[in-house]
Symmetry: C2
Subunit: 805 residues, 2 copies
C-alpha cells in the first residue's frame, strides 16, 4: 500500500502535547485520547465546536513548534522562550525583519551621529540642537525596542539576560547625557559615546559579531597569561637596558626607566628598530647582543607562543561551540516534535502537521517545496516522519528544489539547423583548446599592459584616442562572452562564479572604453581595473582554486571579524577624539624626538622654494574619519611610535597608555584573525585529505521523485483546507508532467556546503558519542528546560489570547 493514498485529513486528531499558549483549560486530561478519537461521542456535545477547538489547538502547536525551531536555528536559549500568549505576541513582533531593520537603523544612526557631533567631519557638521534631538529620537526608539523585548521575555528573564541589562544601563547613561547636552547646549566630554557600539552588537543581524566577541573573550585567559610573561620579560630587559645604556648621554631611548620601558614596548612591535639600537651600537658594537636577545625572546619566541596558545584555544572552542550548537538544535527539534505528534499517531508527524508547521516557520515557501521537504525528511517513505528522520530538519529545510531538467542544453527544442550551430558552439567553449587559448590571450594582455605601463612617460596616461590594443583585447573578450552565453545558455553561464567574474570584468572594461571614447574623466579609474582580468589565470592550478574557494568560504566570517575590529575602532576613535582632537598640527611637536615627522617648512634654497613636509600632522584625531585612518596606521604598527610621541609631546605622558592599550587590543583581535584563518584553512585541508577519494565538492544535492497520483492527493489536501490559490504551483507541476507525458517527475534539492556540514563529516564518530551522552543526560529534555511545565498552561492571560493570534 502506498502511503499517500491514505486520506490526508485528520483534523479531528489532537496533539499529544499542547502548546503553552492555549487558554482553554484541558479539563479531561486523562480521557481526552478516547474522546477525540471518537469524534461523534456524545460526551463532547457539539461536533463542530469540538473540531474547531482541535483545529485551534493545532494552529497553536504549529506556531510554538515553529518558534522552537527558530530558537534552535538562532541559538536562542530556551529560557527566553515566550511563556504565554502575551509574550507570544511580543515575540512575534520582535522576531520580524521589519523590527530587525529598525534595530539596525537606530544603531547605525546612533553610531553615525559621531560624524556630525563636536569634532565633526567639516562638511557634515550639524548644530547641537539638531544632533542632540536626533540622538534623543534614536534613543526613544531603542527604549521602545527594549520594552517590547521585556514584554516578550518577562521581567525576570529580562533581568537575567546580561547583554540586554548592559544595553539598558548604557541606554540610561546616553539618555541622561543627551538631555544634558540639549539643556547646556554644549557638548561635554562624552567618552560614554564609545559604548554606543553595544546597540549595534545587540542587533539580530550582528549575531556573527557577537559570536566573535564571545570567542575573543573566551580566548582571553590564556592570552593574558602569555601577555604577562611577555610584559615580565619586558620589565626585566627595561631594567637591564636602563643600567646598560643610560650612561650614554646621546642615547635618548634609555635615559629613564620609563623611557626604557616605553621603548622596549615599541621595540616589541619592531617599529623603532634599528633606530633604538643605533646610539648604543655606535658606541659599542656588542650592545647589539642586548637587542638581538630581546627580539629573539620576545618577538620570535613569546609572540609566536601567543599565537600558538590562541590557535590551540581557538580550535578547541570551535569544536565545543559546534557541539553545543548541534545539541541545542537537537533539543529544539525534540521540543517541536512533541508538539507536532498527534495522539492518534504518536510515532511520527504526518504531512498535514508538517504543512501547518511550515506555514509558520517559512511562510513564503510554496506548497511544492513544502511537500518535497517533507519527502526528503521522510527517509523510509512511510506516511509519518519519525523523530529520527525529523532530526535532519535543519539540513533539509535549506534545500532549494528544482525540477530536474529533461533537456541537456537550452537549445534542444530549437530547429535542427539552429541546434547544430549551438551544439557546435557548446562543444567549442567546453573544449580545452578554447580555454587554453583564452588563458593565452589573458596572459598576453597582462604582459601587454605591464609593458605599456612601463613604457609610459608620466603625464599622458589617458590618450585622447582609444589605443588599438584595448579595442582588440576587448573584442576578443566580448566574443568569448558571447560564445559562452550562447553555447551554455545564459543561466548555466552565470551560475558559475568564475564566469560571473569574467562577465563583470569585461563589462567594466567596456565601460572604461566608453569613458575613454567619450572623454569622461571621472570614470577613468575603470580603465585601471583591467589587470584584474589576470586573476582568471589562477583557475589553471588546483591549489589556487582551493585557496580561492577557501577565500570565498571564509569571506563572511572574515567580514564579521572585520566588523568586530571596526567596533573596537569606533570605541577607540571616540575616546581618541575626546582627548586628542586638535592636538597635532604642522610644526607642533618641536620638543619631542619625532619633531621631524611633523615639520612643515616652506623655505627658499637658492631661488627655489622647497616645501619640507613631515605629513604626520595628518595622522590626527580631528574627526572620526581621520581617527579611523590613524587607528588603522596604529594597527599596522609601523612607525606608530611617531604618532604616539607626537600626541604625547602635546598632552601628557599618560596618553601613551591609550596607544599601548590600543596596540594590545588590536593584537588580540589580529591574533584571533590569524588563528581563525589558520584553523579554517587547516580544517579544510584535513577535510580534503580525509575525503580524497570522494566526488568534487559542489554542495549538497538531494534527489526526490514525485508521482502524479501523489501530487493529486496533495492537491486534494490543500483544496480541502486552504485557499485554491495555494494549489496553483502544484497544478503547474501536473500540467508539466502531462506535457512531457510522464507519470512522475524528478526534483533536485540543492544548497551550498556550510562549515557545519564539514564539521559533521569531520567529527562523525564523536557526534554519535555526544548524542548518546546528551540523551543519557536528559531523557526528557523538555522537562529540564521547563521545570514548571504544568504551571505554564495556566499562566496565559485568557481574555486576550484569542485576539492576539
Amino acid at each position: 500500500m502506498q502511503w499517500w493514498k491514505q486520506p490526508a485529513i485528520h483534523s479531528s486528531e489532537s496533539p499529544v502535547e499542547r502548546s503553552s499558549y492555549l487558554t482553554e483549560p484541558d479539563t479531561n486530561d486523562g480521557g481526552s485520547y478516547d474522546i477525540v478519537n471518537d469524534v461523534s461521542s456524545p460526551a463532547t456535545g457539539d461536533y463542530h465546536s469540538q473540531q474547531r477547538s482541535a483545529r485551534h489547538n493545532w494552529e497553536m502547536n504549529y506556531q510554538e513548534a515553529a518558534i522552537y525551531l527558530q530558537e534552535g536555528e538562532n541559538n536562542d536559549k530556551f529560557f527566553t522562550h515566550p511563556k504565554n500568549a502575551k509574550a507570544l505576541a511580543a515575540y512575534l513582533f520582535v522576531h520580524n525583519h521589519l523590527f530587525y531593520l529598525m534595530e539596525l537603523i537606530t544603531a547605525l544612526l546612533l553610531l553615525l551621529l559621531s560624524l556630525c557631533e563636536a569634532p565633526a567631519v567639516p562638511i557634515l557638521r550639524l548644530g547641537i540642537y539638531i544632533h542632540a534631538t536626533l540622538e534623543l529620537f534614536a534613543l526613544v526608539v531603542v527604549v521602545f525596542e527594549l520594552s517590547m523585548k521585556m514584554r516578550w521575555m518577562g521581567f525576570y528573564t529580562y533581568i537575567r539576560h546580561k547583554r540586554t541589562m548592559v544595553k539598558t544601563c548604557v541606554l540610561l547613561v546616553q539618555f541622561v547625557e543627551a538631555i544634558v547636552v540639549l539643556v547646556r547646549q554644549t557638548s561635554h566630554v562624552r567618552i560614554t559615546r564609545a559604548l554606543r557600539c553595544i546597540f549595534l552588537v545587540d542587533c539580530r543581524y550582528c549575531g556573527a559579531v557577537r559570536r566573535n566577541l564571545r570567542q575573543i573573550f573566551q580566548s582571553l585567559p590564556p592570552f593574558i597569561d602569555i601577555l604577562l610573561l611577555l610584559l615580565f620579560f619586558m620589565v626585566i630587559f627595561a631594567i637591564l637596558g636602563f643600567y646598560l645604556f643610560s650612561s650614554n648621554h646621546s642615547d635618548p631611548y634609555f635615559n629613564t626607566l620609563e623611557n626604557s620601558l616605553v621603548n622596549l614596548f615599541v621595540l616589541l612591535t619592531t617599529s623603532n628598530f634599528p633606530d633604538v639600537m643605533m646610539p648604543s651600537y655606535s658606541r659599542n658594537p656588542w650592545s647589539c647582543v642586548f637587542f638581538i636577545v630581546y627580539l629573539s625572546i620576545e618577538l620570535y619566541f613569546i609572540m609566536n607562543l601567543l599565537l600558538a596558545v590562541v590557535f590551540d584555544t581557538f580550535s578547541d572552542i570551535e569544536k565545543r561551540k559546534f557541539k553545543s550548537l548541534l545539541l541545542h538544535k537537537r533539543t529544539a527539534i525534540q521540543h517541536a516534535y512533541r508538539l507536532l505528534v498527534s495522539k492518534q499517531r504518536p510515532s511520527g508527524i504526518s504531512f498535514k502537521q508538517f504543512e501547518g508547521l511550515m506555514r509558520f516557520y517559512k511562510p513564503r515557501m510554496c506548497a511544492r517545496e513544502r511537500y518535497l521537504t517533507f519527502k526528503a525528511l521522510n527517509q523510509n517513505n512511510t506516511a509519518l516522519v519519525s523523530l529520527k528522520d525529523f532530526y535532519n530538519f535543519y539540513e533539509v529545510v535549506g534545500l532549494k528544489w528544482k525540477a530536474k531538467r529533461n533537456r541537456e542544453h537550452w537549445f534542444d527544442d530549437l530547429p535542427r539547423t539552429a541546434f547544430l550551430i549551438f551544439k557546435g558552439i557548446n562543444i567549442l567553449v567546453k573544449s580545452r583548446a578554447f580555454q587554453y587559448a583564452m588563458y593565452t590571450v589573458v596572459a598576453v594582455n597582462g604582459i601587454w599592459i605591464l609593458i605599456q605601463t612601463f613604457m609610459l612617460q608620466d603625464g599622458n596616461f589617458f590618450p585622447r584616442d582609444v589605443p588599438w590594443s584595448y579595442i582588440v583585447f576587448l573584442t576578443i573578450y566580448g566574443v568569448e562572452l558571447l560564445l559562452k552565453t550562447t553555447g551554455l545558455g545564459p543561466i548555466e553561464y552565470l551560475s558559475s562564479g568564475w564566469n560571473l567574474f569574467d562577465f563583470s570584468v569585461t563589462l567594466f572594461a567596456f565601460l572604461g572604453l566608453l569613458a575613454l571614447a567619450f572623454n569622461m574623466e571621472p570614470f577613468y579609474f575603470i580603465v585601471v581595473l583591467r589587470p584584474l582580468q589576470l586573476l582568471r589565470l589562477f583557475k589553471l592550478k588546483k591549489r589556487y582554486r582551493n585557496v580561492l574557494d577557501t577565500m570565498f568560504e571564509l569571506f563572511p566570517r572574515m567580514a564579521s571579524l572585520g566588523l568586530t575590529l571596526l567596533i573596537f575602532y569606533y570605541s577607540f576613535a571616540i575616546v581618541g577624539m575626546e582627548f586628542f582632537s586638535g592636538v597635532v598640527y604642522p610644526n607642533c611637536c618641536n620638543t619631542s624626538t619625532v619633531a621631524d615627522a611633523y615639520r612643515w617648512v616652506n623655505h627658499t634654497v637658492g631661488n627655489k622654494t622647497v616645501v619640507e613636509e613631515g605629513y604626520y600632522y595628518l595622522n590626527n584625531f580631528d574627526n572620526i574619519l581621520n581617527s579611523f585612518v590613524t587607528l588603522f596606521e596604529l594597527t599596522v604598527v609601523n612607525d606608530w611610535y611617531i604618532i604616539m610621541e607626537g600626541v604625547t609631546s602635546q598632552t601628557s605622558h599618560w596618553s601613551r597608555l591609550y596607544f599601548m592599550i590600543f596596540y594590545i587590543v588590536t593584537m588580540v583581535v589580529m591574533t584571533i584573525i590569524v588563528a581563525f584563518i589558520l584553523e579554517a584553512f587547516v580544517f579544510r585541508m584535513n577535510y580534503t585529505r580525509k575525503n580524497q577519494g570522494s566526488e568534487e565538492d559542489n554542495g549538497i544535492v538531494l534527489e526526490k521523485e514525485i508521482s502524479k497520483e501523489e501530487m493529486a492527493s496533495v492537491i486534494e489536501l490543500y483544496r480541502r483546507n486552504y485557499a485554491a490559490s495555494e494549489t496553483a504551483p502544484l497544478q503547474k507541476v501536473i500540467a508539466q508532467m502531462d506535457k512531457y507525458e510522464q507519470t512522475s517527475m524528478l526534483f533536485l534539492g540543492r544548497r551550498s556546503r556550510t562549515k557545519s556540514d564539514l564539521s559533521m563529516k569531520m567529527y562523525e564518530e564523536e557526534i554519535q558519542e555526544w548524542y548518546e551522552e546528551h540523551s543519557r543526560k536528559e531523557e526528557y529534555p523538555w522537562q529540564d528546560v521547563f521545570p514548571s511545565g504544568s504551571h505554564m498552561l495556566s499562566s496565559g492571560l485568557r481574555q486576550r489570547s484569542q485576539t492576539v493570534i
Copy 2:
C-alpha cells in the same frame, strides 16, 4: 625453571646468517646446522679450530649488527652500508667522534676564515698568504675526509649520494680559487665562498640542520605557489598605484612603475607605512582606501594564508618523517636480529649474543647496565629475546640504570639527633608555607628593584657601598639555598631544573655582590642580572610551567633552526660583502630619498655644537660581523628599506634584488620557525589533552629486579669469556646485596621523554597499520635492500679482513 640457571655458554653455536665481512667461504651451506650442532662430529676434524672459527664468525656478526643499529639510529640509508672488510675499516674510521670533531673543526675553520679575509674585521685581519694557506690546509683535510668516505661507500654509492657530490664540486671550486688567490696574491670577487656552509651542513653533528633544510625544501612548493599569488596582486596594485598617484609630483613613491612595485613590496613588510601613503593622503583623503585594501589583502590575508599553508604542510611532513624514521629503525632492528640469532636457537637472542652486540654498539656501557638492558628488553622473562621484544631496542637502550635507593633521604643513616634536625629541615623546605614565603620574598625583591631603579637619578648607578637591601635579600636566598641543600641532599636538590636555576641566579647575585664590594667595574653587569630571580614566580601557575617546559623541550630544535638561519645569513653576508662592502659611509646617500638617515652633521647653532647623527651608515657590509648585524636588521624588516635605498643609491638599482631575495628567504625560514613552534605547541597540547588522566609527565621509568643467583650466573659468564676487570661492577652489586641482606635488588631505568615517545603515543593506532603495511610490502626486507645478497659474501678482500678487525 628459572632461565638464568641454564649454562650461559654457547660459543659452539653458529649464527643463522653470516656477516658480509666474513672471508671464509661457507662451503657446507645446506648441512651446516647439523654439523655445528654436533660439535664433536668427525666431519669437521679439529674441534678447536671449529670453535675458534665460530667465535670469529660471531664477532663479525656482532659488529655488523651494531652497525645496522647505528644506521637505524642515525637514519643512514642502508645502501651506504659497508659492503666488505675494507669498507668496514673505512666505516669504522669515519664513524667516530674524533673524525666527527675533525670534520666540524675544519668546517668551522673555513667559515671563520671570512673574519680575516679581504673585508676583514679590523683586529683580525691576516695577510693573504696566511689565510690562503690556512684555507688550503683546511681544504686538504676535507679532501682526506672525502676520500675516506669514498673508501667506505665505494665509488658507485659515492656518486649516487647527492650531498657528497655537491660537496665535492664545491670543494673543487674552492681549491682552484684558493690556489688562484695564492698565485695572484690578491683576493678576487669570491662569491663562491658563500657555498662554504656546505662543509658545516655536511658534518655529522649538524644532522638537525640538514633535517631542517630538507623540511624547508619540502615546504617550498606550496609556499612558492602562494608567493606567486602575493606577487601577482602586488603587480596589479603596482599598475593601479602608478595610474592613480603618478600625476602627483610631490609623491616620489609612485612616479615610475618600478618605484611603484618596489614601494609596494616594501609596503608588504609595512616598513614604509604610513609614509608611503602620506603624499597622496594629503592630496586626497580617500586615497587611503587603496592602501587599506592592499594591506588587508596582502598582509592580513595572503600572508596568513602563507603561514597556514606552510603550517599544514609542516605538520604533514612531520608525521611522514616520523613514520619513515620509525620504519627505518624497524628494518635496522630486523637486520641486526637476523645476524644475532643462532642456528641452534632461531627463536631469539641470548644474553651472550646481546652482550657481544653491546660491546660494539656501546663499548662504554658497564656489564651491569648491559644485563639490565637485556632484562628490560626481555618482556616474558625467558632465556631469549624474541624479535618482537627486540623491536623495543631503541626505547630501552637509552635508559640510565640506578639501584633503587632503600633510603628515602640522604640523612637516614645519621645519628638520631642529626636525623631529626635534617628531617625537620626537609619537612620545612617541602612545605607550602615555605615555598609561598619564598615567592613573597622574590616578589618583594622584584618590586624593590623596580622602585629603586625608578628612583635612581642617572649617573650614580653603582654606589660605592653595597646597598643594605641587596645584602638582606641575598642573605635570604643564601639561607634558602642552604636549607634546601641540607634538607633535600645536594643530589636531589640539583636534579630539579628549577633548583639549578635558583642556584645559578643566587650564585650570580653573590658574584655581583663581590664585584660591588671589591669595586670590580667590568663585572657590574652581573648586578644587573638580579631581576632574573623574578622568573621563579612563574612556577606558581600551571600554564607557565607548561609553557616553560615546552620551551625547554623546543630548545634543541629552536637552536638548530637558529643555526639554519645563521647558515643562510653567512651566505648572504659573503655575497653582501663582495658587492656592498664600503659603499655606505656618513653623508653618502645625498641623492636618495633616505639621505637623512645617513646624514652626519656637526654644526653650530647659536653657541652650541649640535651633532646630527643619522647612524644608518653603521648598517653596512664592511666586515662579516657588521654584515650579520645588518642582516638581522633586515630580518626584523622594520625600516629595512632605508638600508636598501642607501645601498641602492650608491650602487645600481639591481642591488634591490639582493635585499628582496633576502627578505623572501628569511620569510620562508621565519614562517617555518613559526609553523614549527605552532606545531610543537599544538601537538603537546593535544597530547596533554589526550592523556589527561595519566600521571605527571616526568620521563620514561622502568623497574627491574635482579636476584642474587641471577647475578652470580652472569658473573660466571663474564669470568669465562672476558677479563676479570669487567666483572667488578657486578661484584659490587652482590656486595651491596650482602650488606643490606637482600636476596634481590631493584633497579630503575630512567630517561627523559622525547618527541618520538610522544608521537608513538599520539599515533598509537596508525603505527600498527604502518607496521602491517610495512611487513606486507617486504616480507623479507633484507632481501630488498641487498638484492645481490649472495654476491656480497664473496666480495670481501680476504687477505686484509683478518688484520682489520
